[in-house]
């Protein structure tokens, strides 16, 4: 066991107090985070919460208004050029050349990073991505799933130490998503650090650590279990008849922070356990309802965090 690990070797991303405004509107507020090397770090939050802006500040595409930090041991303000050489950034919108073929796109990237044998590197990547037979197809003509694989291939081709993936699986079918995540885990097993933003809860649960950001504020971070535990949220699951009416009745009662339908059941959650118990007591014995004390899901926690953030920062 190492007693005092040197931050540079152990920590891939270490930033403090990052802020960024656009046109007077603060998009990221005083954000600090640490990502350990070799981990898959999930970055969650609603649309417009500042995820993309944060990722862009980490790879030198945006200059923070204030705050400082390092990415792979390099200063994010001064060493953007060095960071770019070791970071693979997959943009939210497909941003390779649509009018170049799969092979041409990969060769372009390989040449830009000074890979010794660009043709060979591109051919190997095509093999690895399973794009054989499509290498001469124009990137613009690929389906969404293949575009996403190609984009991942392009940003891993120069063997980066850190991958920044901005909603990589948006609009991709479940099978392709699963393959994609298997690939990410394989890359992380090789020592790569991955920061991935997503909306999907199942994806969040596949991350080693997660952070939740809303309205530019980092609200929670840690492992999935830690985030659930620190939320101090208690949840009841109700199944049965007349759930719509019940939901309407419960909403707004003291201690009840959230009522959300989940398929054929209703999740009722609150942070003040005693107050919530008191509020639901009258309904506990109602006919046709089955109450069960449950664990809050990650989604419950996030929606609760988001609702609270709306009240605080909007």
């Amino acid at each position: 066991m190492s007693v005092a690990p040197t931050p540079a070797s152990d920590i891939a991303i270490d930033v403090r107090g990052l802020s960024k405004s656009f046109g007077g509107r603060e998009v990221v507020h005083d954000l600090s985070m640490q990502v350990k090397r070799g981990t898959i770090y999930g970055f969650l939050g609603p649309n417009g919460s500042g995820k993309t802006t944060t990722i862009r500040m980490l790879c030198g595409l945006l200059t923070p208004d204030s705050g400082e930090g390092t990415c792979l041991g390099y200063d994010i303000r001064r060493d953007a050029d060095r960071i770019k050489r070791q970071v693979g950034y997959m943009t939210q919108r497909f941003s390779l050349y649509q009018d170049l073929s799969v092979r041409e796109n990969l060769e372009f990237v390989a040449r830009l990073y000074g890979v010794a044998d660009a043709r060979r590197a591109a051919a190997d990547m095509i093999q690895r991505l399973g794009l054989n037979g499509r290498e001469e197809q124009l990137a613009g003509a690929l389906s969404g799933g293949w575009k996403q694989r190609l984009a991942l291939g392009a940003c891993t081709l120069p063997s980066p130490q850190l991958l920044l993936l901005d909603e990589p699986t948006a609009g991709v079918d479940p099978k392709a998503r699963r393959d994609f995540w298997n690939e990410i885990h394989a890359l992380a097993a090789d020592g790569l650090t991955v920061l991935v933003s997503t909306h999907y809860m199942d994806e969040a649960e596949r991350c080693h650590e997660i952070a939740y950001i809303a309205y530019g504020h980092l609200l929670a971070h840690g492992t999935v279990d830690q985030v659930i535990a620190t939320s101090a949220l208690s949840t009841w699951t109700v199944a049965g008849d007349g759930l719509n009416a019940l939901a309407a009745e419960l909403t707004g009662k003291p201690g009840i922070d959230m009522v959300a339908p989940f398929g054929t059941s209703l999740h009722v959650s609150g942070r003040d356990k005693a107050a919530m118990e008191a509020s639901i007591a009258p309904y506990r014995d109602r006919d046709g309802l089955r109450w069960q004390h449950g664990e809050p899901s990650l989604e419950d926690v996030f929606i609760e965090l988001m609702t609270r953030a709306t009240d605080n920062f909007r």
């Binding site: 862009r56 790879c59 030198g60 595409l61 945006l62 200059t63 953007a80 050029d81 770019k84 050489r85 970071v87 950034y89 943009t91 919108r93 497909f94 941003s95 390779l96 050349y97 649509q98 990237v109 830009l112 990073y113 392009a154």
Partner: protein
């Protein structure tokens, strides 16, 4: 929701549908036009620019044309003749030279349009009744510029004699003016226009090729990826300009080839020099187009900027109208346009057989314009998405 279903049940086609929808479209177009500042500027700039340039700068019978004098004797008669020439308002004596070599060089470099040589012992020869000749050499590459001035020379003898001298018989002029239309003795406008077209076509195509290059990356979203990769602004610029140097070079060969083979335009000067300076001109235009690309917000703006640059290039460079005939302010603007310098170069090399020392000034001007454009482009290139 019952409200919306009620509403949709009641909904029938509203009257005047055609006009309503056209009106909706019209309102939208006006809003977009108002937000698009460059389009708005173009609506005002293009007519104003055209009017001012055509109205004030352009003169198809140019006067006060730069003329060099080689005065080998200082006599009353010589001064009267020069005075008479100046009085026609076509000639303006800008340089006094002391050797035939200097005289020829100025014409070759296009620094003057005319040269007057008054030989030694001219007045004495006139008094002796030898009827000596006075040489007026003209740069006739642009027949429009030289034409009217040359035809005015006939009056000069009379005027000069009226004022000071009353010698010889009025029926037989005591001396003759020998006009020598150099470089284009047949005054063929083709000889002037074809080399000019090389420059004009290259300006138009080169500007547009690079003017779209950066804005296209931004519009297609590929810029975000490109910026996240380790590439510097200078590298992006060179990568985007160099392929089109070859394209422009092929274009130049095509135009000059057709000019020579089909229109019989001669190339008296060195082809290597022509190729070299054409490449410089091509690169200068590409650099300017690229600069527009780094300033424009989108491809439409980049196109509009190119048009606003192309218009004065055609009008003020000496392509359509004689450069020397324009007022001084217009000539200053002209000096800032690469086409002006290239037109002098291409005409001088093709029609006059000029060499690099003759073209020094224009070659350096092109180089300076190119470096200036590149510097602005590199400084303007946004390395971040801020």
């Amino acid at each position: 929701m019952s409200v919306t279903s009620d509403h949709s049940r009641d909904r029938k086609d509203p009257p005047f549908g055609f006009w309503r929808r056209s009106y909706a479209m019209l309102v939208k177009e006006f809003i977009q036009l108002r937000r698009d500042r460059v389009s708005f500027a173009m609506i005002v700039m293009i007519p104003v620019m055209q009017l001012l340039l055509f109205g004030f700068a352009i003169n198809t019978t140019p006067r006060h044309l730069p003329t060099a004098v080689l005065l080998q004797e200082d006599s009353d008669l010589a001064r009267s003749i020069l005075k008479a020439m100046e009085n026609t308002a076509y000639f303006r004596f800008t340089r006094e030279v002391h050797s035939v070599q200097e005289f020829d060089d100025l014409l070759l470099a296009g620094k003057v349009l005319f040269g007057v040589e008054i030989p030694r012992g001219f007045e004495r020869a006139v008094r002796r009744g030898d009827r000596p000749a006075l040489l007026v050499a003209a740069d006739a590459t642009d027949p429009v510029a030289a034409g009217s001035a040359l035809s005015a020379l006939g009056m000069v003898v009379q005027t000069a004699l009226q004022h000071d001298l009353h010698i010889g018989e009025p029926a037989l002029p005591p001396f003759e003016i020998r006009a020598h239309a150099r470089y284009n003795p047949a005054a063929s406008s083709r000889l002037n226009i074809v080399p000019g077209l090389v420059g004009t076509i290259l300006t138009m195509t080169m500007l547009i090729f690079t003017a779209l290059s950066v804005t296209r990356e931004i519009e297609r979203g590929t810029m975000e990826s490109l910026l996240s990769m380790p590439i510097t602004p200078v590298e992006v610029m060179l990568g985007k300009i160099l392929p089109y140097v070859l394209v422009g070079f092929i274009q130049a060969i095509l135009i000059i080839g057709i000019g020579v083979l089909l229109f019989g335009v001669p190339v008296y000067g060195s082809l290597t020099l022509l190729a070299l300076l054409s490449t410089l001109f091509i690169t200068t235009n590409l650099a300017i187009g690229y600069t527009f690309s780094t300033i424009a917000q989108n491809q439409l703006q980049a196109m509009q900027m190119s048009i606003m640059f192309f218009l004065p290039s055609i009008l003020l460079s000496g392509f359509m109208f004689p450069f020397a005939g324009m007022p001084v302010w217009a000539q200053y603007i002209g000096e800032g346009l690469p086409l002006t310098h290239y037109l002098r170069i291409v005409r001088a090399i093709m029609l006059k057989g000029a060499t690099l020392p003759n073209m020094q000034y224009d070659a350096i001007a092109l180089l300076v314009l190119m470096l200036l454009a590149m510097t602005i482009a590199v400084m303007r290139f946004r390395r971040t998405l801020d």
